[in-house]
Symmetry: C2
Subunit: 604 residues, 2 copies
């Protein structure tokens, strides 16, 4: 037997199984009552007012704790069992009001405080005596019950408001953005709200569906950035976009349709409607940011590499053609400078090297490698490197993303040169991902299968002569999921050399600027980061000198930063502070750049 229980002043309500206590009912609704004694009926902190409704009779202990208050309708929530429909008022002092602290993986802990909140209200039905407009009626009720007095109703919602209010018989839950704008109205009591965080990578798009009430990650979805049709690297896409208005529109529509596809799939996984997505945060490098927004990116590609806009901004989902709630706001994290974009701000928000003493080197390896060096003492300095997509598995013959079936670990036995490998999820091998490539190259260098200059040794047992020269044979066609041999070619090795030299040079130039010979800590961010073997990365000369124990991989920190910004207004402000504070170094104008780059191509 279930009974309807309504909690005031929140207006939250639910059908609660009989015999449950008020405290249990409150917990189910996400109302945190104080229960210092753990609900044993001894601390007396969970006092609530019950003016009407059926409850179990109070025991002596409860009566004693309540004293005079019992006569005026007070009960202890942990003692009183529900026996019929009930209306409960929770006084301010009985609310636990403890912040929810979130910290997943290597992320910096932060308090859950999303911009989206929900309010349940009953409205008085209009009459000839009180015929004021629907929007006014709703705003008035929210003012009276919740003290929200400066709200607006967003336009697309306004269009259908009269039908919603009447369909719900004037009993609705309102979704408010940032305490200032109503973006959704649902019938009855609706509890959860959802948002999405999106990382627009040059090569990969990742979308996360997040429960905004709990901070919980509900679903993740990723796909290849469909803009690759216009070039694998950012420069060729920018060039394409600046051909004419049509090109800019096309390349924008391509990424938008990619995002809409991610939204649809992720929401399906999460079991929610795309129109139920109430807010979105987005990170991406400056080029992805500009191309997605349809900003003129022409001058981003020319000295002095000036973006159209850097500061964080909120746009309407409908203006961006995103198929979520058209009233939803879409927040783009700020850009630092030139090519050091909102994705890097996301990484820094998630890792916050400026909060720790001792030099931290943050390397975000994607198609563009963004590198930041800094500490609590010296602040943050950043640069951008054109690493290319080798570590994302692109431009590599058998390369693939870090997904099931990707070879992510390789071992070559010294002397015999016998090769073994591991795949993600233990699946039949489909290709090799970034961490696998780094591992393979490190092993080749160690066992003399690869020279310091990057030439494959044709005498090694695991090497064969392929169509285009020497290649490392990882697996024969008959044992792969694709039915084709999995190899690393001499050309792949050249790609790896360029990519690792770009990153290493960037790191060294930042260190030179700060007068540092070694760093105290290395954080590897990026989709492939979770899988990379720090020792191998050190062996191939991707990383500067650092104690191996202090090299940590943190996965998609940019995406995690976007999720933090989705869940916390304070983190959004912190992102803006970080973006303003980071100093930017233009690598290509450094006098040592070329010499260092050429030297860095060696496998040492």
């Amino acid at each position: 037997m279930k009974h309807e229980v309504v909690f005031q002043p929140s207006g939250k309500r639910a059908q609660v199984e009989g015999k449950k206590t008020i405290l249990e009912a409150a917990r189910e609704l996400g109302i945190s009552l104080r229960s210092d004694c753990g609900g044993k009926g001894t601390c007396g902190k969970c006092r609530v007012m019950v003016t009407e409704g059926e409850l179990s009779s109070p025991g002596d202990k409860e009566k004693r704790l309540l004293g005079d208050q019992f006569a005026s309708g007070c009960r202890l929530a942990c003692c009183a069992a529900i026996e019929g429909p009930l209306s409960v008022t929770v006084p301010r002092e009985s609310l636990a009001d403890e912040p929810i602290i979130l910290a997943e993986g290597e992320g910096v802990p932060f308090e859950l405080s999303p911009l989206i909140s929900k309010y349940h209200v009953y409205l008085e039905a209009p009459s000839l005596d009180e015929p004021s407009g629907d929007a006014q009626r709703l705003l008035k009720a929210l003012g009276v019950v919740y003290g929200l007095t400066t709200l607006d109703v967003d336009y697309p919602l306004l269009q259908k408001l009269p039908g919603i209010l009447r369909g719900a018989e004037w009993d609705v839950t309102v979704t408010v953005w940032d305490g200032r704008e109503i973006i959704d109205v649902e019938p009855g009591y609706a509890q959860d709200s959802y948002g999405m965080a999106v990382d627009i990578g040059t090569t990969t798009l990742v979308g996360y569906v997040i429960n905004l009430c709990t901070g919980e990650l509900v679903a993740t979805e990723s796909m290849l950035n469909p803009q690759v049709d216009y070039g694998a690297d950012v420069m060729s896409r920018i060039v394409y976009s600046t051909k004419d208005e049509g090109s800019r529109r096309r390349i924008r529509e391509t990424i938008v349709s990619g995002l809409n596809s991610i939204v649809a799939k992720a929401c399906a996984k999460a079991g929610i409607a795309p129109l139920g997505v109430a807010e979105m945060t987005i990170v991406g490098n400056t080029a992805m940011h500009h191309l997605f927004l349809g900003l003129n990116a022409e001058f981003l590609a020319k000295v002095p590499f000036v973006p159209a806009l850097q500061k964080p901004c909120d746009f309407k989902a409908r203006d961006l053609m995103l198929e979520i709630n058209p009233c939803a706001n879409v927040h783009l994290l700020p850009i630092e400078a030139g090519f050091v974009g909102a994705d890097n701000v996301g990484v820094l928000l998630a890792t916050q090297p400026q909060q720790y003493p001792g030099l931290t080197l943050v390397i975000d390896i994607g198609t563009n490698g963004e590198i930041v060096l800094g500490s609590k003492e010296v602040g943050l300095t950043s640069c951008s490197t054109a690493a290319g997509p080798a570590f994302e598995g692109a431009h590599v013959k058998c390369g693939m993303m870090a997904a099931a079936g990707a070879i992510d670990r390789v071992r070559i036995e010294p002397g015999t040169h016998r090769l073994s490998y591991r795949t993600i999820s233990g699946a039949r091998p489909r290709g090799i991902c970034g961490s696998g490539i780094i591992d393979a190259v490190a092993q080749m260098v160690r066992c003399g299968v690869l020279s310091a200059e990057g030439r494959i040794n044709g005498d090694a047992a695991c090497v064969r002569s392929g169509e285009h020269g020497l290649e490392l044979l990882l697996e024969q066609a008959d044992k792969t999921a694709t039915g084709r041999d999995i190899v690393i070619t001499q050309k792949d090795i050249r790609e790896v050399q360029l990519a690792k030299a770009a990153i290493y040079t960037g790191a060294r130039i930042l260190m030179k600027r700060l007068g540092a010979e070694k760093v105290d800590r290395v954080i590897l961010a990026g989709a492939f980061g979770s899988y990379v073997d720090p020792e191998s990365a050190m062996v191939i000369g991707l990383l500067p000198q650092c104690d191996l124990g202090n090299v940590k991989a943190v996965g998609n920190a940019a995406g995690y930063g976007a999720r933090m910004a989705l869940l916390s207004k304070a983190m959004r402000a912190e992102a803006a502070r970080i973006a303003r504070a980071v100093k930017y170094v233009e690598l290509t104008t450094d006098p040592d750049f070329e010499t260092m780059f050429i030297a860095s191509t060696r496998f040492t």
Copy 2:
């Protein structure tokens, strides 16, 4: 020979013909310098600082007036003639700074203070040392020069900002809305800004192009509301719109395309580009307001006639699909209650009966007649009548709008019943407009051609038997522009009876509520108002008792109210106050309504 003259602190500049005085150059740029003596060099109020530039040598009179100040670079603007490039600083005390007071026709005077303002700035070109984003660069300059520190750049403008700034070589004029949002950036120094005020009538759309710097009306354009395809009256259009989503969209698109056509034509007349329209204000009755915005209007047509929203609101032109600057804000004036809409707020804003002692009756005759009765002492009370479009020339056989060729005055000679008429602009007659119909009916009543019950007298010389019964012959086919007879039929008379009874009854019920037997003043608003003969209106029983001398026609006051709201932020606030203050009377629930209506159909 022209010279560049720059005025500080405004940053305004122009190429000025040599030998002109600084005062003349300032006037051309809209900078009002004090010139109490009329520019004769005698009052010494137009003192300016000239730190560099070539000017005519000062005469003795100027030197004497300036005294010591001459040595420190001061000149009198009315005396100093420009002989080369010049930079002039205008001290605060030399600025006339007098408000521009606008009052056209019968409108209440108000101060020009539009929400749109323009700012001319030079930006520093970006460099590798200062590569901050384009939007930041612009915002920073506006902060430094004009103290504007909380601006945003609207999204569609942001998309093209990089191209505009570089095309203009970093010398631009920025259009700011309400001190908070940049909605346009133009190359170089741009002075004028334009807005549009629009009146969406049930039958007629009227658009006005206004120069926002001077308040001047630059062009007017009107057309039939294309929604008439879905019904001549508001009720049938609402019913159509609530059939399904598609119907609501279609009827919305119809009015939007009508407005876009008005915009295009009015801008062509004004010689400006539609994309140059920086703001728009709109008035219209509640149904027109809702159908234009695509709001669900279903419940507007059902007791208790509740609108979706009443308060004034600003939407983006792009959300409304209006083909003006997509960043432009479109302000809809507030609705009073139910069917007493933003058009009536416009009328009250223009006429402000609540500011005057003694009862004023304001009748806005359109397809729906809105009536307001009030005074400084008793405030304002309104009602809405279903007058129908007879006075707009619709539902009348030879009816037409008050335009060239419309018969607007009719005289019938007593006894002989010889008929004469006047047309608007003296053109060959095309039909008869509202004021002509009222005049004709009044004359028919006076000369016994029409009975008090509204039956045409078949014996009169000017009456003949037509296809559908008796009719008054105004002009023979061979003398009309249409090649058809112009007549008033018995059916037309019935339409007039219903329309005038609706309005008269509304007025009488308001008077009854206030216990008034006569009113001190009648204001006739509406497109046909400018042409109507007050005496004739009184004769046919359209108006309640009032001294004839106190009956005034003010033309399209609703449209004038929209223009006031476009030109003054204070007037916009006043409109909101008026809308909240007006008391609303629902006529149909008044016990005397039916009896009074039937009695009012008589021509007394």
